[in-house]
Amino acid sequence: MVFNSIHFVAFFALVYAVYRLLGHRAQNVWLLAASYYFYAVWDWRFTGLLAASTLVSFGAGRALGRADVRASRGRSLRVLWAALGFLLAVLGFFKYAGFFVDSAVWAFSSIGIDVGRPALAIILPLGISFYTFMAMAYVVDVYRGELAPVASLTDYALFVAYFPHLVAGPILRAPALMPQFAAPRTIRASDWSTGAWLIATGLFKKIVVADNLSPMVDAVFAPAFPAAGGDVLIATYAFALQIYGDFAGYSDMARGISQLLGIELNVNFRFPYAVTNPREFWRHWHISLSTWLRDYLYKPLGGSRRGAWATNRNLLITMVLGGLWHGAAWSFVLWGAYQGVWLIAHRGYEALRGTGRRVSRVASIGAWLVTLHLVCYGWLLFRARSFGQIRSMSWALLTDWRISPEVVPEIRTLIGFALPLVLLHAYEWWKDDLLAVPKLPLLPRYLVYGALFYLILLFGSFGGAQFIYFQF
């Protein structure tokens, strides 16, 4: 059940109508039941896995909160690793078993040893990467003493399974969300206007921008298509917009839906293509994942506290694992490594140049253009389906600047669908406010609302396409 489906509209209308009639505790139970139904619509068998991850992390949190466990560092560590071990084992089995087995088979066969190919047909449970990371973060926060164990199993289960974020994020953090579940909620008129705006912009990003650019991207990235360099460039720009529209669109809709319920979710994207270096990019793209990786991987590895080499190593490990989080494929590993190397190179550049120097406007524009194109090249690595395709497309980018006749009309498609999004974000960026439009005076505000309505109506793809990030 995707947000841009009639099924979801009917589901949410019912959930919302009942929700408004209930008291606070009953609202939580109702939202929990709705969340499990939402998940079961995809595949009811995996609700057990969701429940198991919830119970294990909740139990670990409770155990870590007990005085006798807290008193013993050894016992605390055993509880922590037992919970993390379970969660990582579940994630590892369902998401990565096939990948590692295939890689091992390939490695053996490359040195002449035939070990056969075991038949693994493991279904990837929807949203497992998101809710597993949330559960792990909760256990670690309690272990560190940064968060008191949650007393109510209902509230905790709702935190893990809360349907607006369940299948494609954002990755929520207990300190931000649990207080909102624990206290009675008031839904104000501003929640309605903000929620409706976020849902509308999310829908626009998804069904107008992402879904309309998808056929062009698929065509150029099809293995049989003899893509020239110009084709690759255009398709990569289009994919940069597609993946942004798809993922930021989902995040916006998740935030908007949650806002209607009176629950505020964190911002996940903040003008990621307007940044001037890779560090800024990761502070603006998929913010909930990059902050998770920073807090629960990069910093525990030592962060930047142990000298340049250790910092670079930690960056590389973090970004490679971050790449692998996106999918069990070597292309994602390569993409992660690319991001890591780029971050390291940027650190080196800053060390040489020195920080705090005043940067001219021209230099800023140059840095923005370079960053944008390096981000886009990263998307090429991300979207390509084989190393061979990465090699041929990269070579075409360097040596062949032709544009195939069948791709020429797609330039108009790209510009046409990018333009409204760029104009909207340019205004929000200028105001430095993602909710700048709902704050406009009545007439200009309604003009934007009306334009969004007609753009969705006239140019939206109403086929109910899936979201790219569901596969993660």
């Binding site: 309604y446 003009l447 009306g450 309505f453 109506l457």
Partner: protein, 385 residues
Amino acid sequence: MPGSSWRLAVRRLLVAALVLGGEFAAFEAFLRWQGGSEAAPAFQQLFMPDDAIGYRLRPGQSVVFTTREFSTPIAINAEGVRDLEIPSKPAGERRIVVLGDSLVLAVQVPREQTFCARLQDRLNAAAPAGVRYRVINAGVQGYGPVEELLFYRRVASRFEADVVLVVTFVANDAVEAYDAAWRLDGARHPTVAARDETERTVRRWTRRSMVLQVARQRIEQLRDRAGATAAPSRPVASYLVAPPAFITDGIGVATRALRTLVTDARAAGARPAIALMPARFQVDPAEYERLRSATEPIAGPIRLDAATERFTAAVAPLGVPTVDLLPALRQAPHGQFFAETVHLTAAGHETVAAALEAFLRREHLLDLPAATPPSPSPAATAAGP
């Protein structure tokens, strides 16, 4: 205060209405400038009102119709058909007038690539000395058997046809005949007439606005996806194993119109013939499967060739040579129809032209004397590839 909040609400509503109205006009203008739809003025200019038929092609009109899949120059001659000018028939010329709907008009391809033009080329390539063939495209978008009869009487009967070939689109001709039955009978009940008039006015306005056309498509898409429709779209009902009454009644009306047309054509000295045109999904198993899975849960089982079989059975008693174009299109390679419309590609037109040529020769419809009625064909004959 209640008074001020009421005034605020009214003010907001007024602003919203003004904004929506203004932007409607702006998007309408943009879409018209962009083109690509039958609602575009360039396309709508092709048609003019007609008291008897409802509408017909506007004589002398010339436009270029462009969509994502094609860009086609369309010229309507002085007689009101998409063809070259039609002078008095010279000696030695044999004329075949082809009546039908959009599948005959074929705005998706240049005139030279339509099956009418290709059939003419094929016949002339093997014509006996002193004989030239002229195949006249008398198709009009949206026509059904009733309108085809009326159009023949009003316009095409002047073309001095030796053969009148009616191309019946089996997918929607029953529905269109059912809707136009009153034109055959002369008058409608006042209540029905008022309701139909309202529906037609809404449809006419919708057709005139590209924004409204897209909005209608979106509503239909959403209704389909929600499974909210209690019945499939009306043309699909032609393929139901147990069709609703309007389909069986519509086939009855269609047969009545065709019988009258056959009589009129024979009276004018022409030989009548019928070609049954299949729907795109009848030659595309994947598309049929999608249609089947969407239709059967709400309307019961469908059968791939049900509409063709029904029309074959319905026209058999007319005693007119009939060809089913389905086998020829089914045996042809993939790509006989466009992806985004249900119409024939240039390759599809070539396939149909070849099938019709074989049919005309097999049924001796090209033989002289034109005034002699051919021996009736007992049933439809399948065209070979």
